[in-house]
Symmetry: C2
Subunit: 193 residues, 2 copies
């Protein structure tokens, strides 16, 4: 138990990443998210694009899992990715205080590091508006994009942690960013740290 | 949407009631819990002891529901109690800012009042120690008492709200009182209000 790590799990579009980055900036500690993928890519030899596709998707949701052989190949890749990711997150946490977004970091660091585990959620209307503003429009409706991402994150989390996604018990603090506002959530977490 | 009401849902032994009372005292607003039962009793004509027994138990868990007739009688009593409780909570909320502990107040006041809905939880070890300190020993082990109370609250909440008990999404803020501490939870809620 050393170093104080903030892990942030979040619903798609809830602003969890924005809050995590703002908290890290205010505390003057690093925040790992996209950077983490690049580090994993470097270690595993996967291409960054391939990793981004695999990332936080469960095997069943793989678009290329049409035949048994490909499904098996995908499953092996997922396991390799998970193991590399687990090691990377443990290494990052041992370097010093930081914020880690997503990737079941709360589960990976459990009983190993002093963590503040955070869950950020918001209602669908708030998230739908936010993803259009932050990520832009796509052919799919915002609600469809949210539903798909929610389903993937839920499957991914449950597969690797054996816990229910979105259960308050898994976190020290859960915040509704839609009602409380992103700035208030940021301030609360900074004051708690 | 008027008056700012704090509703507190909590796991048995998590200190939710203590936090609610402390928050209300610091804010100088009333806190309704045991007092609420007395008010309901007064309105409904039930005895206070009978109400305390019915309170937050679902029909299936009623100890006297051994035969169909008694189960039906119990179900009718539960419905009467729920309706009286709903009306009482709405009346209390309309009087002015307050803290309301338990009784699905978050659900009853939804879309009717400006609420801060809070969920307080903690791990079983913390709660087991706490209930012995606060409520004393009984013939049943602390863990058994927690399991039974958790089951009752879950059934009660799900019966009347049609939602999952313990889901972060139902609350603006969920706090782990075991890790964060009761004083920190109190301060956080006061600062949020």
């Amino acid at each position: 138990m050393k170093n104080k790590i903030i892990t942030i799990s979040r619903q798609f579009g809830s602003g969890g990443r924005t809050i995590g980055r703002a908290v890290a900036a205010k505390l003057g500690i690093p925040c790992y998210d996209g950077e983490l993928i690049a580090m994993i890519a470097e270690r595993s030899g996967f291409s960054e694009a391939h990793l981004a596709e695999l990332d936080e998707h469960s095997v069943k949701r793989q678009p290329f899992a049409g035949v048994a052989e490909r499904a098996t190949q995908s499953s092996i890749l997922q396991t390799v990715l998970w193991n590399t990711q687990e090691k990377t997150i443990l290494d990052l946490a041992s370097k010093g205080p930081c914020v880690i977004i997503g990737r079941c970091a709360n589960h990976i660091l459990q009983n190993k590091f002093d963590c503040l585990n955070v869950y950020i959620h918001a209602d669908k209307e708030f998230r739908a508006n936010r993803i259009v503003t932050v990520y832009g429009e796509t052919d799919d409706s915002p609600l469809k994009r949210i539903q798909e991402k929610d389903k993937r994150r839920k499957e991914y989390y449950q597969r690797y942690t054996n816990k229910k996604w979105g259960s308050a018990e898994d976190f020290h603090i859960s915040l509704d960013s839609g009602s409380l506002g992103i700035d208030t959530c940021t301030e609360l977490l900074v004051s708690l740290y």
